[in-house]
Symmetry: C2
Subunit: 183 residues, 2 copies
DNA sequence: CTATAATTTCAGTAATTACTGAAAATTGGA
DNA sequence: TCCAATTTTCAGTAATTACTGAAATTATAG
């Protein structure tokens, strides 16, 4: 790995973190390398910089593409595939949440809905359904909320976040003026 | 596994999901079993219901306790440890985010801060630092926001979420009345 | 203190996941 | 079309992670 110390530390760290986020070490490293890189890199460059096999890069990049964490670009007169990460960190964050939802949240919601449709006879099943109902409600609320706010512009979102819990005060103030809007 | 079909499906599903959230299959199953259970269970009951070894349960429960996803309770006149999950799903969600932050976000922030302190000489390093600065800013903003809103009561939080993106309209309305509060 | 019930540790092994290199497939130009 | 550059697949193997059972430890009641 012939990276500068700053870059190398970052790449290694993301390798470790990758495993906590459901991708393996090498995929995490590939992502980090591309995130820092000022230009798109091709598979050979990635393989060489990180010191693993060409085929591993191929599989890893396929996974990063599927997570929409990287995109494929081409250079004129060059047949090779080049990879880069989206520039905007908000966009990255949004795709990540979006994909996590598709892969983890939606299947869970489906399971919960199915289970809630079943006829519960025993007390055990009735209690289980009640717990599932609570979980289902929370997930629906949280994902529904995310759906809505993710369409706000990055600036609006940023402003909202900077408001933090003060949002509550502003809202209750607005609520006093126009009861229909009370939070 | 002598669970009712409804419970069994849920338990198996959480086993699979566990691996995507950084815990292994058996730990995910233990959590799911306890989440659904109407009463606290001891290690032998867990081992028997799920069909794995007593020692595995011991290790798994240690992990769930460390994530604050389960708590230890005792029954009068019974020396054994019993386990249960917190009742309130909001509380569960909050501990999960809190622990994720401690283990994954904080170390990353530390790394980023350190890297940003370093003197960047090459263009490559300068660009890398700029990227890290963007990432650092996003993480600070998002975690700072979470810090604030997690202290709101579950009801307020729920109301805020139900507002969704409409929050923007209410805020800009309030802003017109009192420019100092403009979002 | 001793006996026993309960829990934890840990070395060994099983199971899973990650990685490689060689071969196959695909792509684009001549 | 054929050829060469590039990417993908996949079987085999390496590395890692998960799980067990036996032994050690801890805790409690008598």
């Amino acid at each position: 790995m012939n990276l500068s110390p700053i870059n190398e530390r970052f790449v290694l760290h993301f390798g470790e973190m990758g495993s906590r986020w459901g991708v393996n070490r090498t995929v995490g490293q590939m992502y980090a390398l591309l995130f820092l890189s000022p230009k798109a890199l091709n598979s050979d460059e990635i393989a060489e910089q990180l010191g693993f096999s060409r085929s591993n890069v191929s599989m890893g990049m396929k996974e990063l593409l599927s997570w929409k964490l990287c995109k494929l670009v081409h250079k004129p007169g060059d047949r090779r595939d080049y990879f880069e990460t989206p520039k905007d960190v908000w966009e990255i964050f949004r795709s990540l949440v979006e994909e996590k939802r598709k892969r983890e949240i939606e299947p869970t919601l489906t399971l919960l809905r199915d289970a809630l449709m079943d006829e519960a006879t025993s007390d055990e099943d009735k209690h289980a359904q009640e717990r599932m109902r609570e979980m289902h409600e929370l997930i629906e609320l949280a994902t529904g909320w995310f759906d809505e706010v993710q369409h706000l512009s990055p600036e609006t979102l940023e402003n909202l976040m900077r408001l933090g819990s003060k949002v509550q005060k502003v809202l209750s103030f607005a609520g006093h003026l126009r009861p229909g809007n009370r939070s």
